[in-house]
Amino acid sequence: MSVSKDEYKKMTDKASPPSPVVKNCLFAFFVGGFICMLGQVIFDLLTMYGISDDNSRALVGMVLIVLTAILTGIGVFDKIAKYAGAGTMVPITGFANSVASPAMEYSSEGRILGTAANMFKIAGPVIVYGCSSAVLYGAIIYIFGLY
C-alpha cells in the first residue's frame, strides 16, 4: 500500500525531533539580555565621559557593530550564535554579523563582484523592508497628523 504525501508528512513529523525550544529561549534570553546590558554599560561609560546622550546612543550601536565584526572575523561569533540563537540575532549584533559574514565568504570572488555585491545578501531584505515600512509608517503618521 503506497504512502500518500499527507501520510508521509505525518511520518516525517513524527520521526523528526523538535528543536529544543525551551533551552533555545533560555539561551536567547540570557545572551540577548547580556548584549543589551553591555550596550547600557557602554552608554553609561560614554555619558560619564561627557558625551551627549544622543551621540552616546549612536556610539553604542557602532561599538557593538565593530565588536561583532571583529568576533565574526576571528571565527568566534558563529560559535556563540550556535547556542545563543535569537539572543545574538535580534540585537544589532545579528545585523552586523549578517553583513560581515558574506563579505568574508565572497572575498574569493573579488572585492567588487564578490565582497561588495554579496555583502547585503542576507541583510538586504531587512534594509529594503525596514526602509519601506519606515516610509509607510511615516506616511500614516503624517496623514493622521493632518487632522
Partner: protein, 336 residues
C-alpha cells in the same frame, strides 16, 4: 552483454572488478569512527588552496590519483573518469581533473553521485569498449554551505534534523579483468518526491527514493535483505533511516533493519561530533564506500553488499520558488 532483469536492474556479464579504491577526508571526518580506514586525512580544510572550491578540486584529485597509484597504473592508463560533485557546473570535478589528461564524463547525481558514477563506469566496462575507468566524486563542507546555505561565519542555529556535509572524496578504479570486489548488478534510480520542502530535513526528502531503489532492486533480483551482509544507503541520516525502514515495512512488507547501514551515520559519531542527524554530501557515501565497505570486502569481512546512495535533486533556486525536494537513489550490488 548485460542482461536486464525485472524492470530496472542490469545484471552485468563482465563483472567489472574494483581494482582499487581510495578515500580522502577532512579533519572532522578523520576524527570520526572510521578514521583508520581513510587513505589520507587533510587537517587543513583549505588543502593549501585559496578558495573552498579549489580545496574540493584538490581533494578529488588526491583521491583519484591515490586510487590510480594503488592500482599500480598511471593517469595515462585510465580511459575515462566518471565524476561529479555538488558545485554548480560540477566545478569540483572539472578543475580537479583538468591537469590529469584523462577523458572525462561529468555527472550530476547530487549526493548519489558515487553510485551513479559506479553505474556508468560499470556499463562502460560492460560495453567492451573500456578496460580501465575511474568512478569518483567529492563534497566539501565549506563549498557546499556557501552554495546551498549560509556563509560559514553566519551566526545561525541548525535544527536537529539538519545534516553535516562531509568533506571527503572517494574514487574507484574499475577494470575489465576478473577479481574482487566486483560489481554484479546495477540499478538506475527513479526520481521520487513525497512533497518534503524542508531543506534542513534532507533525510526525509531522500528516504522515498532509497525505498524505491531498494525494493525494486530486491524484487528485480529475487533476493531478500538476508541475502546481503549489508544494505547501505548514502546519507539519509537518522531521520531518513527511520523513515526508510518504515516505508519499506508499510509498502512492501520488507524488514531491512538488521542489515541496513547508512554511511551518514557511520562516518561521524552523531552524539559527540555535533552533526545532528548525520553526515551528508557526495563525499559521505563515497569515502565510506571506498574505505570501510570495499576494504571490508577485500579483507573478507563482507561478502556482498547493496550500495544505494541517495541524492536530493533540488537547487537553491527551486527551493526559493517553493518546489519540493525530489530524491533519487542509484544502486549497485558489490560482491567479493
Amino acid at each position: 552483454m548485460g542482461q536486464r532483469i525485472g524492470k530496472n536492474t542490469i545484471l552485468l556479464d563482465s563483472k567489472p572488478c574494483i581494482i582499487s579504491n581510495a578515500a580522502v577526508v577532512g579533519r572532522k571526518e578523520g576524527e570520526g569512527p572510521l578514521k583508520d580506514g581513510f587513505d589520507a586525512i587533510f587537517d587543513d580544510g583549505t588543502m593549501g588552496q585559496d578558495t573552498w572550491e579549489k580545496a574540493e578540486s584538490q581533494m578529488l584529485r588526491a583521491a583519484v590519483e591515490t586510487a590510480i597509484q594503488k592500482a599500480e597504473l598511471t593517469a595515462g592508463d585510465i580511459q575515462t573518469v566518471f565524476s561529479g560533485d555538488l558545485l554548480n557546473q560540477c566545478i569540483g570535478s572539472n578543475f580537479g581533473l583538468r591537469e590529469l589528461g584523462i577523458p572525462f564524463a561529468g555527472l550530476y547525481g547530487a549526493c548519489s553521485t558515487m553510485a551513479l558514477s559506479l553505474c556508468m563506469a560499470s556499463l562502460a566496462i560492460e560495453s567492451g569498449a573500456f578496460e580501465r575507468v575511474v568512478a569518483a566524486t567529492s563534497s566539501h563542507f565549506c563549498s557546499a554551505e556557501k552554495q546551498f546555505r549560509y556563509p560559514l561565519e553566519y551566526g545561525g542555529q541548525r535544527p536537529p534534523s539538519a545534516q553535516w556535509t562531509v568533506t571527503g572524496s572517494g574514487a574507484c578504479v574499475l577494470g575489465s579483468t576478473k577479481g574482487r570486489p566486483y560489481i554484479d548488478a546495477i540499478h538506475i534510480g527513479t526520481i521520487q518526491d513525497l512533497g518534503i520542502k524542508d531543506g534542513n530535513n534532507m533525510g526525509a526528502a531522500m528516504a522515498p527514493a532509497a525505498k524505491k531503489t531498494i525494493s525494486d532492486f530486491l524484487s528485480d533480483t529475487g533476493t531478500s535483505p538476508s541475502d546481503y551482509d549489508a544494505i547501505v544507503t548514502g546519507d539519509i541520516g537518522e531521520i531518513g533511516s527511520t523513515l526508510l525502514r518504515e516505508l519499506l515495512m508499510r509498502e512492501n512488507g520488507i524488514d531491512i533493519s538488521s542489515v541496513h547501514k547508512d554511511c551518514g551515520l557511520m562516518i561521524f559519531d552523531c552524539k559527540t561530533q555535533d552533526v545532528h542527524s548525520g553526515g551528508s554530501g557526495c563525499g559521505c557515501s563515497a569515502s565510506v564506500l571506498c574505505s570501510e565497505w570495499l576494504n571490508g570486502i577485500r579483507d573478507g569481512k563482507y561478502k556482498n553488499i547493496m550500495f544505494a546512495a541517495t541524492g536530493a535533486l533540488m537547487s537553491p533556486v527551486s527551493s526559493l520558488q517553493g518546489e519540493s525536494i525530489p530524491g533519487i537513489a542509484h544502486g549497485v550490488i558489490i560482491r567479493g
